[in-house]
């Protein structure tokens, strides 16, 4: 199986099952409409008005060569791979909802503006410790354990965050584990002391900001209705400047109100942020800010513009990362991980302030998905949904899709929210993901072509 596409002056062919990527000329691109189904003579007849027999013959020799090397039309043999069939997922990551409360109001908030459709509450130190113990106990032989302090707004319960980090450091030594703490914050409560603490103790931070002031402030405002941009931007800059080489992302959401979101990504880059992520909103159908199919042409156009600008800045020595364009073609995750995806509901779980367990942060608040508690233990049987086996081969739409090894079947919560079935992916999300991966390949191809020209 291959996927081929054109963007500007580049023709790209992805061999889906090996992950090989080829830059091809127009003759190859045309011949691949017929190869390998048609034989040499048939192809020569079909393309006789465009290309000579000799040219076609020489292309076919190259294509045959790639096939021999298993770099074109390679087979998918992973479904029977023992590392895949015998995998036994263990819990390795928690999204710890340290505060079901928030000090700002975001119009698109999936957490019902911080309370996840429940009572506003903060996680106690006791429940937090039980959550960390639960993670250690359910992690089998996995050494690296991830805990994201999430909300609502985690800084509303920062004393407990600090106590849990101390507790984790103590327990990891006893249990021979390695906790990697991360935090996702809206930034309003950041001060020098908190910034210093987070920079010292958190492996990664996600700083929420949507981009341009007017865009951010339309969707993200305080309880008094004031925009947050002017409050958070200097704090985020300070945080990133003092963070050194440690990982961070400024992360935003785009909606129908900023369908020109490439400008927001570039705005964040212009503020000096080198690691950016701006994602499409996932809205309940009927919301005014919801993205719809009619928005796709413009969204695609925006991703393409962003890709071109990213290349330009990279060449000028002023490059930055856009999370959803980052694909490591040579050293990325193994195919087993690519088949199984985010691990929600099996490797990755969310814990509420009360200690209840859900498949991931997106399901919190939907009682149907409650799968136990850190006090009484995990009860997967309570769910009639098999998250551990929601892999690409069990998703009909994914099985024959070229992008399956890059999105891994997409977000289960989106699939459930739109199609009432975690195995039926959210179509609009799929279309955007395909475009993002095409743009990522385009960026790498263009940068490589430049290296060759200049080298």
């Amino acid at each position: 199986m291959i996927h081929k596409f054109k963007m500007d002056d580049v023709n790209i062919v992805l061999d889906v099952n090996s992950g090989a990527v080829h830059i091809v000329d127009d003759i190859v691109y045309s011949i691949l409409d017929y190869y390998p189904q048609k034989n040499e003579e048939e192809i020569k007849t079909l393309l006789k008005d465009q290309y000579s027999s000799e040219e076609i013959k020489s292309v076919l020799a190259e294509l045959n060569d790639l096939r021999k090397q298993d770099l074109l039309f390679s087979e998918d043999t992973y479904i029977s791979n023992s590392a895949f069939t015998t995998r036994k997922p263990v819990v390795k990551a928690l999204c710890l909802h340290i505060a079901h409360d928030c000090n700002i109001r975001c119009r698109y908030c999936f957490a019902s503006q911080g309370d996840f459709k429940g009572t506003r509450s903060l996680m106690s130190e006791e429940i937090g410790k039980k959550a960390l113990d639960f993670l250690i106990e359910n992690s089998g032989n996995r050494r690296n354990l991830e805990v994201d302090f999430f909300g609502g707004e985690p800084l509303l319960n920062f004393e407990v965050v600090k106590k849990l980090v101390d507790y984790g450091r103590k327990r990891e030594k006893e249990a021979n584990k390695n906790f990697r703490f991360t935090i996702t914050t809206n930034g309003v409560l950041l001060n020098d002391e908190i910034i210093k603490y987070i920079n010292e103790n958190m492996e990664n931070i996600v700083l929420s900001i949507d981009g341009r002031k007017e865009i951010n402030d339309k969707m993200r405002y305080t309880v008094n209705g004031e925009g947050t941009y002017d409050i958070i931007l200097p704090k985020f800059k300070n945080m990133v400047e003092t963070r050194g080489d440690k990982s961070y992302y400024v992360r935003g959401t785009f909606t129908k109100y900023n369908i020109d979101f490439a400008k927001d990504v570039l705005h964040l880059a212009d503020q000096g942020f080198k690691n950016t992520s701006v994602e499409p909103v996932v809205a309940e159908p009927g919301k005014d800010y919801e993205l719809t199919y009619e928005d796709l042409p413009e969204i695609f156009h925006q991703y393409e513009n962003l890709a071109r600008e990213l290349i330009k800045r990279e060449k000028e020595g002023n490059g930055f990362n856009f999370f959803h364009f980052m694909v490591d073609l040579n050293q990325g995750p193994c195919v087993i991980k690519r088949l199984t995806g985010c691990g929600a509901g099996s490797e990755y779980l969310a814990i509420t302030p009360e200690g209840d367990i859900y498949p991931c942060h997106q399901f919190v608040g939907n009682e149907k998905f409650k799968m136990g508690s850190v006090v009484n233990g995990l009860n997967k049987e309570r769910l009639n949904i098999d998250f551990a086996n929601a892999h690409v081969y069990n998703k009909e739409k994914c099985r024959d899709c070229w992008v399956k090894f890059y999105c891994s079947g997409g977000c289960h919560a989106n699939a459930y929210n739109f199609n009432n079935d975690i195995n039926r992916p959210y179509d609009l999300g799929c279309e955007m993901e395909k475009k993002r991966i095409e743009c990522s390949l385009y960026i790498q191809a263009k940068l490589r072509m430049t290296e060759k020209t200049e080298g």
Binding site: N17, V21, V24, L63, V335, C342
Partner: protein
Amino acid sequence: MKHIKTLSYGSLKETAHKGGCGGCQTSCQSACKTSCTVANQECENR
């Protein structure tokens, strides 16, 4: 090759042999909280 330049030889087949250790980061813990992208995670078992 005259007509084809290979940008990447891919590593999926190779990773099938040693893959599945699970030591890597969970995708939603990095910078996406809604639109799953797994291919940008780093392998920790090279």
